[in-house]
Symmetry: C2
Subunit: 301 residues, 2 copies
Amino acid sequence: MSVLVVGSVAFDSVETPFGKHRDLLGGSASYFSISASYFTKVRMVAVVGKDFPRKHIDLFKKYGIDTGGLQVVHGKTFRWEGRYEHDMNAAETIATHLNVFRTFSPDIPRRYRDTRNIFLANIDPDIQFDILKQVRSPRLVASDTMNFWIDNKKRELTRLLKSKKIDLFLLNDAEARQFSGEVNLLRAARYILSLGPKMVIIKKGEHGSLFFSRKTAFSVPGLPLETICDPTGAGDTFAGGVMGYLSRFKNIDDAKVKRAIIYGSIMASFNVGRFSLKGLLGLNKQLIDKRYKSFKELTRF
Amino acid sequence: MSVLVVGSVAFDSVETPFGKHRDLLGGSASYFSISASYFTKVRMVAVVGKDFPRKHIDLFKKYGIDTGGLQVVHGKTFRWEGRYEHDMNAAETIATHLNVFRTFSPDIPRRYRDTRNIFLANIDPDIQFDILKQVRSPRLVASDTMNFWIDNKKRELTRLLKSKKIDLFLLNDAEARQFSGEVNLLRAARYILSLGPKMVIIKKGEHGSLFFSRKTAFSVPGLPLETICDPTGAGDTFAGGVMGYLSRFKNIDDAKVKRAIIYGSIMASFNVGRFSLKGLLGLNKQLIDKRYKSFKELTRF
């Protein structure tokens, strides 16, 4: 089964203690798609401007990503500029130029509408809601969000979660605290599950992630890495691994979601080692399986 | 085999979002001893003043702790006053009154000197060094430290680690970063191992802990708990579980240390649920084993 992602494709300018790079390929849909492409067929819905170079579209195609839903419109591509200090857990946004993303109103291509697995990257919850009206009968819907939407569209985000259309909600620890009003992450997760989603994943950066369903609690650490070069896109890369892996199965249960979270963590661990999504390029089953074994060794007792 | 702890016994006054309590039984040796007592015989070396109530000594005895090394001297018992904000990861120290602890120069009782397992709680590294001259042939020596000693006695602490007498060094993530000058915890651990210790455990509060030896990396998450009432003593309680468990075995290997870390995490999870060391009282094998199973379920994939 394939997976459909709706999100951003962007140019990022990023400064970390390991360097400063301008006009990198970025955006939630880019990270998600390349990551998920190691597991399944990916359909991408996003928008870029006329300034978006052909080579990036070629890169997506090289990874088997269906870019039929990537609109190229008049104007400039979304640009984000950010900086990370030494702890790498939070980006400081220096500038955001939404450009063509400002009026992004995704029209899901007709041939995508029967996609069974959907990932709604962190875009306006009203748009997320609207997308779910366009798809026919998804089997698994996951959505992400960010502090901006919790600040400005909490009611709309809550409506989305209460719609019972979101199976899996992903957000980071700070967002979980902000959204739920609970400092304690277990309470925050319970609150989120009480709204409607069947499952929630709280991403904790270098500390790994937590997964909660009605029946299961699961915690996976971050893989201790000597160099975390650029954490940009780690959350979307993680989601790509999770959704990519799950898209391979007809039936999903908590055990499969746990393994999917390991694959998500593996992909994120590759991603943060290099700038932009360079860490995700040129991987293969052997490299991914080797890191799966590292996770086993790291956590087994 | 028994375990010898050298540390503090204190009165704590603690304020957390869950309440404010004065004159609680505290101190590193208290937490360590009660925790370790569930696994092995404990010998305690510490000092208190004449104001230290009989009931606390009776409590130690009730848990089978040998208090023959607990000196009662003229003066007042060590007092600490602190406060935790909502995130509970760092205490704000309001007041420290060392009192009789200021001149604490532990004289290890003759009958303790053949103890095979030693825990040097976070006291002056010069005193830690001196204690190791008094014990005959320990099998396993673990030591802890704190930011105060890294700030003020880094050279002495480094000498201790370079002495090759410390098998296992425990410290928290902030201390590991401060001591090593490395933001990255894997690099921090490598630096510490390069000095001499065979093993290092980096405690990360609610995020669990990391263990590194020459051959092994191990990461265990914190058990997601709905209520973290008072984190005071969690690190010493953790060490008590680790050292208590290991003291039961003739031979130690990385697999046993991993399991010991789970027991340490279990004891800490009980401890943080109530003020002072109340969460550690009245436990039994069934309750501990149940939580061991929870850790398995939480981490297995």
